[in-house]
């Protein structure tokens, strides 16, 4: 097949098609859905999930998994909130510290996973418990943030014409996305991640820095989760230790819907963006409907997840079968 339409990009295009169909149907059904404002909101409201999912993409591409991100987001959020509020710090060093800690935490997990050959599922499960507990140690209740720096950040808007604007949260999300796309496509690190996920043994035999890549991927994810925590403090103007429960599973869902295989080595960061947007569109559509109770929301999301995955499997299967005739 040609360069743009092969079995790797086809799932991505399929996901894009699904997003368009979904958004289209919702726009036809609900007046006011097809506006710049709603589209801009998709980025702003899902910024936390989006940044986490982008970090998770790298981890999954490398063949691992990270269950701790929800707790790390909560921990960084309460840390920043506690430092700025009761602690009296200026937000910038507080955010910087939080991000560094997140990176170190991820680094620690990556180190345990690589040097002791421990299963990532369990190490990050332990990390999840640990970070959540520490978040509650920092504070038992949510802490509000009142600082002029935050007010300034919150007043930053990129106007898109009409009533659509992109607030700071959405801008940070887009920035992270651009950086991630750059790293995954144009750096050695990105290539190493794909190689590691594709076949760790081959990667090692080829002389690629497996240790550095694996540890680096978890450290990167830690940084992303911490950044998402900071963005969360912008979104809510506070830090709540109980937030983010189940965020890791939402991120995994977004990554998988985006076409990345959990086994590793296959997928694109762009796909994750589409996955997050699909997630957000479903959620927004159900909210727009205004009649569904919370349980229908869960059933709908579960069903749609199932359908999208089956759809993608089918498309990949067909594409691979065509690429290898006579199988």
């Amino acid at each position: 097949m040609n360069r743009w339409l092969n079995h790797r990009t086809l799932p991505l295009l399929a996901t894009f098609g699904v997003l368009v169909i979904l958004y289209g149907v919702a726009s036809m059904r609900y007046e006011g859905f097809f506006t710049g404002r709603v589209m801009a909101n998709l980025f702003a409201d899902n910024a936390v999930l989006g940044i986490c999912a982008i970090g998770m993409t790298f981890v999954i591409l490398s063949g691992g998994i990270d269950l701790s991100i929800g707790s790390v987001v909560a921990f960084t959020a309460v840390l920043v909130a506690s430092l700025v509020g009761p602690g009296g710090w200026h937000p910038v060093p507080a955010m910087g510290l939080a991000i560094v800690l997140g990176g170190l935490f991820g680094l620690g997990q990556g180190w345990l996973i690589h040097y002791f050959a421990l299963p990532p599922f369990l190490v990050t499960l332990g990390g999840m418990f640990f970070a959540r507990g520490m978040a509650f140690v920092v504070t038992k209740e949510s802490v509000g943030i009142h600082h002029s720096f935050y007010d300034m950040l919150l007043s930053m808007h990129l106007g898109l014409g009409g009533r659509a604007t992109l607030p700071a949260t959405a801008l940070i999300f887009l920035l992270v996305l651009v950086v991630a796309v750059g790293v995954s496509h144009f750096t050695t690190f990105g290539r190493n991640v794909y190689a590691l996920g594709g076949n760790p043994e081959s990667a090692r035999l080829m002389g690629l820095p497996v240790a550095g890549t694996r540890v680096g991927v978890y450290a990167l994810n830690g940084v992303c989760s911490a950044l998402a925590g900071v963005v969360n403090t912008l979104y809510t103007g506070s830090g709540n230790p109980a937030m983010g429960m189940g965020l890791e599973l939402d991120a995994i869902a977004a990554v998988v819907i985006g076409g990345t295989l959990l086994a590793g080595g296959v997928g694109f960061v762009e796909g994750t963006l589409l996955g997050v947007l699909i997630f957000g569109t479903i959620h927004s559509a159900l909210l727009f409907d205004g009649r569904l109770n919370s349980w229908w929301l869960r059933i709908a999301i579960g069903t749609l997840l199932l359908l999208f995955i089956l759809l993608q499997k089918e498309i990949t299967r067909r594409a691979t079968a065509q690429a290898r005739p006579g199988t």
Binding site: F129, F130, M134
Partner: protein, 356 residues
């Protein structure tokens, strides 16, 4: 009960890092796997002996045993049941994240059948367990027949299942009074809580199923090397569907007990996070997440360990929100202990050449 098959010769190269060992040594290796969780449990109990007055205090009240130890047994019964089901799923090389939601469905369905349909209790139990087995088999079908990754397949049910449970109860908490149902989670049999009897029965049945029939052997083979097993004629797909159905049934029993405990079905919150506790119990108990050999006894001990940890923290007055921190330490320590690399690193002096 442990992962030994005394009548089979071991294959030469084993994934969990031992050279071929004759049957007797295999049993020793199995005992050693259960040793660590037992030791950890012992350490925890010892800690309570010194620092928690009255922890071991037992008395007879109303004709049954009463004390903190009894509470641990009673409250840990749900995790133990989930862990038993989860052991088989993990042994097949998968994982089941949906057990919490299945618990919710079971509790909701039972509460409704008992209050609104007024069916006899045994019929209700039968119907609920059959329903859960069916749901679990659905998971298994997604994994085995459609080739989905287990995390994703069971994640779907984890999300949607709770919605289904809330749909059944229309979002309400349904209370009930049926004596038989209440007895399930709160009654006592021969002086110990009835839940302990349930767990013992399920454990015995599962051990019989896996060790006295070919199922256990097929399961370990499937988890160890699915392709090779399939070529050998092992019905890998049927085995996978079976273990997910079984996990679903165990979750169903746990859900009935959870509902019986508070004489109500609480679909929005019951079983929350319990799937992670179950996985934790299985891993700490000695079964590797990659699949293959498994130990049911280890998982039960792992579940007891978690419950003892939680109860210890309640007794010490620590807010339950902080409870995850020691759990995290235990998980990582358990993994480290199981890690081949660490063990081979520590065994450099031994020259048997048994390391991977």
């Amino acid at each position: 009960m442990s992962g030994s098959t005394p009548n089979k010769t071991e294959p030469a190269a084993r994934r969990d890092g031992g050279a071929s060992v004759p049957a007797g040594r295999a049993r020793d290796a199995a005992w050693r796997r259960v040793l660590w969780p037992l030791l950890s449990l012992g350490v925890l109990l010892l800690f309570n002996l010194f620092f928690a007055p009255g922890f071991f205090h037992l008395e007879i009240k109303d004709g049954h045993l009463y004390g903190t130890l009894v509470d641990i047994l009673n409250q840990g019964s749900k995790t133990m049941l989930l862990a038993i089901g989860m052991t088989l799923v993990i042994a097949s090389g998968g994982v089941d994240l949906s057990v919490g939601s299945i618990m919710a469905i079971a509790g909701a369905a039972a509460a409704i059948l008992v209050t609104q349909a007024a069916w006899p209790f045994l019929l209700v139990v039968g119907v609920c367990l059959a329903l859960c087995a069916l749901i679990g088999a659905g998971n298994g079908a997604l994994v085995a027949l459609l080739g989905m990754q287990p995390i994703v397949a069971t994640l779907i049910l984890m999300v949607a299942g709770r919605g289904v449970a809330m749909l059944l109860t229309d979002g309400q908490i349904i209370t009930f009074d049926r004596p038989a149902f209440v007895f399930l989670g709160n009654g006592h049999f021969l002086g110990v809580p009835f839940t302990a009897t349930i767990v013992a029965t399920v454990l015995a049945l599962t051990t019989l199923l896996t060790r006295r029939t070919a199922v256990g052997l097929f399961l370990e083979a499937t988890g160890d090397n699915e392709t090779a097993s399939r070529f050998c004629g092992v019905p890998t797909r049927a085995i996978k569907v079976l273990v997910y159905a079984f996990s679903g049934t165990c979750a169903g029993v746990a859900g009935l007990i959870a509902a019986s405990n508070i004489k109500a079905a609480d679909p929005s919150r019951v079983g929350e996070m319990m799937e992670l506790d179950a996985i934790f119990a299985v891993v700490v108990g000695g079964t590797a997440l990659t699949g293959g050999r498994f130990t049911l006894a280890g998982s039960v001990i792992g579940a007891l360990l978690i419950q003892t940890l939680t109860t210890t923290m309640y007794n010490l007055g620590m807010p339950p929100a902080i409870a995850p921190v020691p759990k995290a330490v235990v998980v990582v320590l358990a993994c480290l202990l199981q890690s081949d690399k660490l063990r081979s690193g520590l065994r450099i002096r031994r020259t048997r050449g048994g390391a991977a």
